[in-house]
């Protein structure tokens, strides 16, 4: 399988695993993080439609990010599960501290920021530092999910 093909397969499997781990955490009452809900409500107020759109977006983003991992593997000249797992841990830290905590509230039309107050329009609770607003286990769950994502991409991508 060529590089692009292996990245697509790895990205699809890894995103499925990541999504499943996070959803399982929600169902077990460990976190209120719902990636599909967060992404989908950027486009619509309808809950059902938002979750459907959110899952599609999340899957597409998962595939794109797998190409980012592949680029790193090409640069370092090797691809292994543990290298991917390290990448996953860094990825989780970035997501929890910058992407979802700072960038998402800045662009999400329905998410609160430190400057907004709940007086006129419905606001989605912002994730907060390490997404701890969504439950004390959220960061740990997110870390595990992203390490699994990285390890799968690292193991399946052929450089």
């Amino acid at each position: 399988m060529n590089l692009a093909g292996s990245v697509l397969v790895a990205g699809a499997i890894a995103t499925t695993v990541l999504t499943t781990v996070v959803r399982a955490g929600s169902e077990l009452g460990l976190t209120r993080m719902d990636l599909a809900f967060l992404l989908g409500t950027a486009f619509t107020e309808n809950r059902t439609r938002a979750k459907a759109i959110g899952y599609v977006c999340h899957f597409a983003i998962g595939l794109l990010i797998a190409f980012g991992y592949a680029a790193v593997f090409v640069v370092v000249g090797r691809s292994t599960w543990w290298l991917g797992a390290i990448g996953g841990a860094i990825h989780a830290l970035f997501v929890s501290t910058v992407l979802v905590n700072i960038l998402l509230p800045a662009v999400h039309p329905r998410m609160g920021t430190p400057e907004t107050t709940a007086n006129q329009v419905a606001l989605i609770e912002a994730p907060g530092f390490l997404m701890l607003n969504y439950g004390s286990h959220t960061f740990l769950l997110n870390l595990v999910a992203h390490i699994a994502y990285g390890a799968i991409v690292g193991a399946l991508v052929t450089v």
Partner: protein, 600 residues
């Protein structure tokens, strides 16, 4: 008036959204609320533990009296507080989604000053997991938020003071003048981020919720005596139906005691097969065809998982009911233990087969044909009834010292086979075992007439060979066993009337059932007596009794499972579906008896 922090059961009113429900006391305190669903753990459970259960209080900060009502044709509660300084009106509702982005569940509390300037106070004490766990008390964008793992509750407020967290509770005071308005909301999330609503959004949803309930009530079909009580019962039943599955809880509460200080405290937040039969009948009579269809298909789906044996009760999602266990709450006025789950799930109760077939017959007769798979499943169940009816069971009242040969169970097994024969003869199910069903139905009838009749008492008896009577046998004329106006049926009703009735109220039996402690009179039995009297040609007596029973509802038209015959106080889980179903059946039966001019 509270007793050691506990409001009487009759002081509560129910609000809900088809997913969960809350009990609001006359003094404005939300003392029972489970999140996110009816059968989830509680966040407010002060009704079961005044000190540690959690509550959402809202009332004048001065001595007050209250008057209450539901807004006409709705499940939206209006409480008017009168104080020496003036009066204020609070409107409480669980809002319904109107398409916009709204919290997963939302309880809106709208406050309006009517006269003077009234000092008000509110305090929300969230206690997750039946009071066992205190939340993290935080703020999001200026809104107090209580969070615990996968769930969170926010309390946005407008013109209702400056809230502050104290001892894991958020509270505030404010004054409201005539014409002034304030608003509180309880916005919740489970397994997803909180949505923090704006004031206009909450107000808009509250208006839409009122309009929805008014429209729903307009579509109900009942005119005749006790119309208010019938429509209120329909509205209560709608709140007890879990919208995602169509299943209905027997009551939205657990462990409200059948005897203050006693041990008969059970969890009713599950769907009982027998209630479903009564509910489908009532829904069809009231013109709620969609709700009836939804419940019927849930019924078939849930029972398919255990077919041909049926469980007594199922979870709202159709799964098998959870085992019973005790939790550490103090109990309503010290009535311990508080239980979650229900031990009846492991019992054999043969009457449920009659309920299943009666439901299938009813649905087929009034609305639509059964599909081939359903017919096939019913064949297996009918054959199962032929196999088991000779065995003893725990009976309709779920006794814990059995099993016994309950007459009611035998009669309901006869009902199962009688309806199976009728369905097969209408080609609704395969008829290859028709002969066996007829033969076994005859055998059941012979057994009942021979073993379950007492010449000494002059009545069908509670158990084969005994001399006890059983209010469950008031259902005989309803289910169509024997001749409703024949001597044995009339004599049984007379015997129950003489031995179990106390004033207008009826005990279900007076025999030992293996539980211990006392209990009140079961209101469903009292309404069954009304129906039985009406069906056996005593319409005037039935109507008079119905008038008196309907007057026993609380100030907003709700009934608990039982009444203490000495004090008139409510006992048991509240409000109870079976009582409201029995009320509806009694009203329709009395009306029919009056319209056909049945003689005394």
């Amino acid at each position: 008036m509270r007793n050691r922090g506990y409001a009487p059961i009759e002081d509560y009113a129910l609000i809900g959204d088809g997913r969960t429900a809350a009990l609001v006391a006359r003094d404005g305190s939300v003392d029972w609320l489970c999140l996110p669903n009816l059968d989830s753990p509680s966040v407010c459970a002060a009704i079961l533990d005044a000190a540690n259960g959690g509550a959402f209080e809202l009332c004048p900060d001065a001595p007050f009296t209250t008057s209450r009502r539901y807004l006409p044709g709705t499940n939206v509660l209006e409480t008017t507080f009168a104080t020496p300084a003036g009066s204020v009106r609070v409107v409480d509702a669980m809002t319904l989604s109107n398409g916009g982005l709204s919290p997963m569940r939302e309880l809106a509390r709208s406050i309006e000053g009517l006269s003077g300037v009234v000092p008000m106070r509110w305090r929300f004490t969230p206690r997750f997991e039946y009071g066992r766990r205190r939340p993290r008390c935080e703020w999001r964008h200026g809104v107090p938020v209580a969070a615990l793992d996968g769930e969170a509750v926010a309390i946005p407020s407008w013109n209702a003071g400056s809230p502050a967290w104290r001892d894991a509770a958020v509270e505030s005071q404010f004054a409201i003048a005539a014409g002034g308005r304030a608003m509180l909301a309880l916005a919740t999330a489970y397994a997803e981020p909180l949505v923090l609503p704006g004031r206009q959004c909450v107000a808009g949803r509250l208006d839409d919720t009122i309009r929805f309930w008014e429209g729903w009530t307009r579509d109900r079909r009942y005119s005749g005596p006790w119309a208010d009580a019938v429509l209120r019962s329909a509205l209560v039943l709608k709140l007890l139906i879990f919208a995602p599955s169509g299943a209905s809880v027997a009551a939205p509460t657990t462990s409200l005691p059948e005897d203050i200080g006693g041990v008969r405290n059970w969890d009713y937040r599950y769907c009982w097969i027998r209630d479903s039969n009564f509910l489908i009948d009532a829904l069809l009579q009231l013109g709620c065809v969609e709700e009836a269809r939804s419940l019927f298909w849930w019924f078939l789906q849930a029972t398919a998982l255990t077919s041909p044996a049926l469980h007594v009760l199922y979870r709202l999602d159709g799964g098998a009911g959870p085992a019973e266990r005790e939790i550490g709450l103090d109990g309503h006025r010290g009535s311990r233990p508080v239980r979650i789950g229900n031990g009846a799930v492991g019992q054999a109760q043969h009457d449920v087969y009659g309920d299943l077939f009666a439901t299938a017959w009813l649905f087929s007769e009034r609305h639509q044909h059964l599909d081939r798979d359903t017919g096939g499943a019913l064949v297996e169940i009918a054959n199962h009834v032929c196999d088991i009816w000779r065995r003893p069971d725990a009976g309709i009242w779920e006794v814990r010292n059995g099993p016994f040969h309950f007459t009611h169970s035998k009669i309901m097994c006869w009902v199962a086979l009688d309806r199976a024969v009728r369905l097969a003869e209408r080609h609704e199910m395969p008829a290859r075992h028709l002969g066996r069903w007829k033969q076994e139905a005859t055998a059941i009838r012979e057994f009942v007439e021979r073993e379950c009749w007492s010449d000494t008492v002059g009545s069908y008896t509670r158990i084969a060979g005994s001399d006890d009577v059983d209010a469950g046998l008031l259902m005989i004329p309803t289910v169509g066993y024997g001749d409703a106006r024949g001597p044995r049926v009339r004599a049984t009703i007379d015997a129950i009337d003489a031995r179990l009735r106390e004033g207008d109220l009826v005990f279900r039996y007076r025999a030992d059932d293996g539980v211990g402690g006392g209990e009140g009179c079961f209101l469903n039995c009292s309404f069954w007596l009304v129906s039985a009297l009406a069906r056996t040609g005593r319409a005037r007596e039935a109507t008079a009794l119905m008038d008196r029973l309907v007057a026993r509802a609380n100030d907003v038209g709700l009934f608990a499972e039982e009444v203490d015959p000495r004090t008139g106080a409510f006992l048991g889980n509240f409000p109870q579906a079976l009582v409201h179903l029995a009320l509806i059946d009694a009203a329709f039966t009395c009306r029919a008896a009056a319209s056909t001019g049945q003689a005394e």
